[in-house]
Amino acid sequence: MRSWKVISVLIAVAIVSVIFLSGVIGKPYEPVQPIAFDHWLHTSKQPDPNQSDTDPAPQLKCEDCHEHADKSRYATIPNVSKCMQCHETMKTDRPEVQKLAAIAARSEQPAWARVYWIDKSADVFFTHKPHIRAGVDCAVCHGPVDQMHRVRREVDHSMGWCIECHRQKKVSVDCSICHR
């Protein structure tokens, strides 16, 4: 009976170590999106002078699409009509753009999977506006999204992380600034 116990413990240890070594745990959260929108392609891709007609590089800024970041609590995900401003005519041969066009034709919105959020139980009332106006770069809190093909959660939005920045920037660390 004793050997059984030893064997079962060994098996459990093996399973746990396999899970850890396989990298399932600790890998940044990277949800599959309904449309394979590529942030890198829209922001950082450098234009190729030889193929500027067939392969354009829009080189957008964050706030071109997330246009309410400096005005409201939410940075907002753009309405599909914003995508269609360009994709009505551009790259209409791509399957992902056709998926987008189909959604737009039904007057629906893609069900984007959220990458960053704050649990409701945390009672945190975060607002984008003051952070953007204070000149905090989007990448400070969201990681190098402009280099990502699919957005990953690279930054851990824990309270200690918020407080650290607030202390460095000598802004208020009063609890009721965020919690109310």
Binding site: A122, F125, P130, D174, C175, S176, I177, H179, R180
Partner: protein, 235 residues
């Protein structure tokens, strides 16, 4: 923390003119709606567990038919020397640099020491999880958290409105002034018995009214230095 910006922080205070209060309780209704204050219900209220961040106390004076009714709205007095603060073992209630007695719901472990130490009985404990019958939960204010079971709650001077007002003033590049911040009770008062503002600013209405000869504070003798100033009723 730095010295200079804190010195300029507004000090929030409220003045209530008892001469104007008609006891209509519009402030109570407004407070419930604004701050997601749950309705405890008849049974709980009978046990003394009703939840009202602001209540209107009623005093009857004299014998019938010579009866005088006096009303007095009472909410958290945001005492400068708050008796609730030092008794909290987890610093869930503390004094902010804006003169607010703040309650951090996440920190609260529910010892209820603060409520027992409050001479104004304006702190309320969530013995049960807040329940909102369909469809009332749709009317919850998204700017305010819904307190969970086991935490203490109380008037915040509508901190969400204070933050909004401060942000507005900041956008316009000026200091806060009268009218930027109006808690729900002040806004809803039909007789304008209540006024709210920055008492550190000598030009503000609260600062002017607090110098009135009628000004007094509730249970001043306790030395709690409340931030709510009552203007006594004339005879």
């Amino acid at each position: 923390m730095q010295e200079t910006p804190e010195a300029k922080k507004p000090q929030w205070a409220m003045v209530i003119d008892l001469d104007r209060c008609t006891g209509c309780e519009a402030c109570v209704v407004a407070c419930h709606a604004e701050n997601n204050v749950r309705i405890a219900g008849e049974e709980e209220a009978a046990r003394g567990r009703s939840v009202n961040w602001i209540r209107v106390e009623r005093y009857l004076e004299g014998e019938y038919p010579d009866v005088k009714v006096r009303f007095m709205p009472v909410m958290c007095q945001h005492c400068e020397e708050a008796p609730c603060e030092p008794v909290c073992p987890v610093y869930a209630t503390y004094h902010s640099d804006e003169g607010l007695n703040a309650q951090v719901y996440n920190r609260c472990v529910g010892t209820r020491y603060c409520a027992n130490n409050c001479p104004y009985t304006v702190r309320f404990f969530n013995f049960f999880p807040a329940q909102w019958p369909e469809p009332l939960w749709k009317a919850l204010n998204p700017e305010v958290s819904v307190r969970s079971r086991g935490v203490m709650e109380k008037c915040t001077f509508c901190i969400q409105r204070i933050r909004k007002g401060e942000e507005k003033a900041k956008d316009e590049g000026r200091d806060v002034r009268d009218g930027d911040v109006n808690p729900a009770c002040v806004q809803s008062c039909p007789t304008r018995a209540m006024s709210f503002g920055n008492i550190a600013d000598p030009a503000s209405e609260v600062s002017r009214l607090s110098k009135s000869g009628r000004a007094s504070r509730l249970m001043e003798e306790l030395g709690t230095k409340p931030k709510v100033i009552y203007l006594n009723r004339g005879e």
